[in-house]
């Protein structure tokens, strides 16, 4: 289970939401202002963000942008005191996970969080896949793409005008770099990236 980072300037709201989430078995780390969170955040401790849209100095929207600048694209659930349509639209355009109005219903929040967790998992997986694929050489990537299309080594060799043995050598390298000899797994990685 991933972490929840709760950023709200109102202590009572922070404390109550964290309490509510704890009854669902979700651990929430709370922050009184975006700056503290920004100072604290670590890329290797991913989580779903629950952020108040309107906070003094740095708004939820700005926090989202700053995180994006740092390559952190964890799902963000924006909560706000008033359903401002324009703010909502901007938030979604910026890639916000969900937009909830205060007071937030527990069920709705938990549902949004669960979607957030799924989204975070997917993102992390994608990121992982990308990282693995990034280790491949250009030729290896070419070979993998062809394999993913369902081509046999012979067909690939013919297409690339090299020997089948060369292709096999590439595929062995690919399996080594991606950490799996399963063609199905290799193809999945190629597709999600």
């Amino acid at each position: 289970m991933h972490k929840v980072y709760l950023v709200d300037d109102d202590e009572a709201v922070r404390e109550a939401l964290a309490f509510l989430l704890s009854t669902y078995g979700i651990a929430a780390e709370t922050f009184g202002d975006p700056q503290t969170f920004l100072a604290h955040v670590q890329e290797d401790r991913p989580g779903v963000l629950v952020v108040d849209l309107r906070m003094p100095e740095v708004s939820g929207q700005q926090l989202h942008q700053k995180l994006a600048e740092r390559g952190i694209d964890w799902p963000t659930i924006m909560i706000t005191g008033h359903g401002d349509v324009a703010a909502c639209r901007r938030a979604f355009k910026a890639g916000i996970q969900d937009f909830l109005t205060k007071p937030v219903d527990g069920e709705v929040l938990v549902e949004a969080l669960q979607q957030g967790f799924a989204s975070l998992d997917a993102r992390l997986e994608k990121r992982e896949a990308r990282a693995l694929l990034a280790r491949l050489t250009e030729r290896e990537r070419e070979v993998l793409d062809m394999v993913a299309r369902g081509w046999a080594s012979k067909e690939v060799a013919a297409a690339l005008e090299v020997s089948v043995r060369t292709i096999d050598a590439h595929r062995a390298k690919i399996a080594e770099k991606l950490g799996t000899s399963s063609v199905a797994e290799q193809v999945r990685l190629a597709l999600i990236s």
Partner: protein, 540 residues
């Protein structure tokens, strides 16, 4: 210092004095006229009486002449008899004598040349005067006409010669004093009878009328009594004693009556003035009350209007506790639904919820109070608390607009006797103006600072911003009603602020801060520090 009652009193006193003077003048004038008239009447009466008496003397002379030297002269004895009878009836005739004027000095005791006089009959005999010195004059007097001779001691002689050829004459010695009977003598006047300028009778007035005032010409009566040669001058003089001119009793009575009238008049005047003053005061109070009522209405309308502007901020302010309440309640419900509910945790959550609900309630109360239109109620208030209330109302709005609020509140908090809501409104207005100016100018790092301080006998609230400040042409018109620099402004905000501040004997000043930006100072009389806290004097 002039008491408001002094004027009617002065008027009363002046009128009383004027009445007294008028009374004295009229009294003197009427008294004098009356006294002069009295003198005139008395004088005429006396003149008539004396004239009659004097005329009788002449008649006696004529009778005696006729008796003694007529065609058949009566005997001396008969003449004496008549004379005695006359003397008896007319006591003023002191002496009667029938005399013979001997031209040739053939008298028994004479021998004197140039005329002698011999008493033939005298009543009372030997009681008369020596006629000898008068003989030449008597001898020279025209027959048939009486002549008068002074005889001293208030007496005069009246002599008449018989017709030719008789050398007889009759002489009467008249006691002039007895020409006026005692009962006829006017006690109030100085009476004189004079003969050829010499006083015969001199009857002074009674002591009470002896002397009088010198500033008025005393009445004088003078008339000649022309009784057949007896040219007597009757003169009466009357002095004017003050007590008669202005009788003290009447003056006193008049003074008392006039004094009472003047007092009544002055009382009436003062009553009227008091009624008028109280009427004016009542009207002024009514006008003031009406104005105050209107100002209060305007203040309320302005607050309700401002409330609209604050609504979104306040909604946010309420959303926070509601969010916490909802979340915690749902959490508690979930805990309660568990197999082994953690009751301690549930009741802890509910405890916090109660606190949270109260916090929301306070915000609602703050809003309700601010928008209420209850009558202003002055009480001793901590200015810091007023600032805190306004900050609570405006904080979220300012945050949303990216404006920082800096507070610098004096400790201990200065206190002033004000209506808390109205003072909050003044501050809110100033904060709003500052925020609008900051927003319009697009200032980065926009900031509004609010400070409270006590300086001497005054408490101050200073609201300053780091905006563009107030331009020189706007500054003098700032508090003028309907003057505004805002497109959608009414121009009543600051004028209302001024009204509200001045209502509690304070003042409001606008200017620019040293480092740029507008600076408003609200100065209020500092409530005395020694007094206990809480609402007290100051309610009017």
């Amino acid at each position: 210092m002039t008491s408001p009652l002094a004027k009617p009193r002065l008027i009363g006193l002046a009128l009383w004095l004027a009445a007294l003077v008028a009374f004295v003048v009229v009294s003197v004038e009427t008294s004098r006229t009356r006294m002069a008239d009295e003198l005139e009447v008395t004088g005429r009466t006396l003149h008539r009486l004396i004239s009659q008496r004097v005329a009788q003397h002449d008649a006696h002379l004529t009778t005696l002449i006729a008796l003694s030297s007529g065609v058949e002269p009566a005997s001396d004895g008969a003449v004496r008899q008549v004379m005695e009878s006359i003397a008896r009836f007319y006591p003023r005739i002191a002496w009667l004598a029938l005399v013979s004027l001997d031209a040739g000095g053939a008298g028994a005791d004479g021998g004197q040349a140039g005329g002698g006089v011999r008493e033939v009959v005298a009543v009372p005999s030997g009681g008369g005067v020596d006629l000898l010195p008068l003989a030449p004059e008597m001898a020279a007097q025209v027959r048939g006409r009486p002549s008068v001779y002074a005889a001293g001691e208030g007496r005069y002689l009246l002599a008449k010669r018989a017709p030719e050829p008789s050398d007889l004459g009759v002489v009467l010695l008249i006691d002039a004093a007895r020409l006026v009977e005692p009962e006829e003598r006017p006690g109030f006047a100085h009476l004189r009878l004079s003969l050829d300028g010499a006083d015969l009778v001199h009857l002074p007035a009674d002591a009470a009328f002896a002397s009088g005032v010198s500033w008025l010409t005393p009445p004088h009566f003078e008339k000649v009594i022309d009784g057949e040669g007896q040219r007597l001058l009757l003169s009466l003089d009357r002095s004017l004693p003050l007590a008669v001119l202005v009788p003290p009793g009447r003056l006193l009575a008049f003074a008392v009556v006039a004094g009472l009238l003047a007092a009544a008049l002055s009382f009436g005047l003062s009553q009227r003035a008091a009624v008028k003053r109280s009427l004016i005061a009542t009207r002024a109070a009514e006008a003031r009350a009406l104005l105050q009522e209107r100002e209060t209405l305007l203040a309320h309308a302005s607050r309700v209007n401002a409330m609209g502007e604050l609504a979104s901020g306040i909604a946010h302010e309420l959303t926070q506790p509601l969010t916490a309440l909802l979340s915690r309640s749902q959490a508690a419900l979930r805990l309660a639904g568990a197999d082994r509910p953690d009751l301690a945790l549930i009741s802890q959550a509910l405890d916090v919820n109660v606190r949270e609900a109260k916090r929301a309630g306070e915000m609602l109360k703050r809003m309700r109070d601010y928008a209420s239109n209850k009558a202003p109620e002055r009480a001793r208030q901590e200015l810091n608390a007023i600032v805190a209330e306004v900050v609570a109302l405006t904080r979220t709005d300012l945050e949303r607009r990216g404006i920082a609020l800096v507070l610098d509140l004096a400790e201990p908090a200065p206190e002033a006797v004000v209506d808390a809501i109205e003072m909050e409104q003044v501050l809110h207005n100033l904060i709003r103006n500052a925020a609008d100016a900051l927003e319009a100018a697009g200032i980065l790092g926009a900031r509004i600072s609010i400070a409270t301080k006590a300086a001497g006998a005054e408490a101050k609230i200073v609201v300053a911003d780091n905006g563009p400040g107030i331009s020189a042409e706007v500054l003098p018109k700032l508090f003028t009603p309907f003057f505004t620099t805002k497109a959608d402004g009414m121009g009543l905000g600051l004028s209302l602020c001024q009204t509200l501040v001045e209502r509690v004997d304070g003042r409001i000043e606008a200017g620019n801060a040293g480092g740029g930006g507008a600076r408003f100072v609200v100065t209020l009389p500092l409530a005395g520090g020694a007094l206990a806290r809480g609402p007290l004097a100051g309610e009017r």
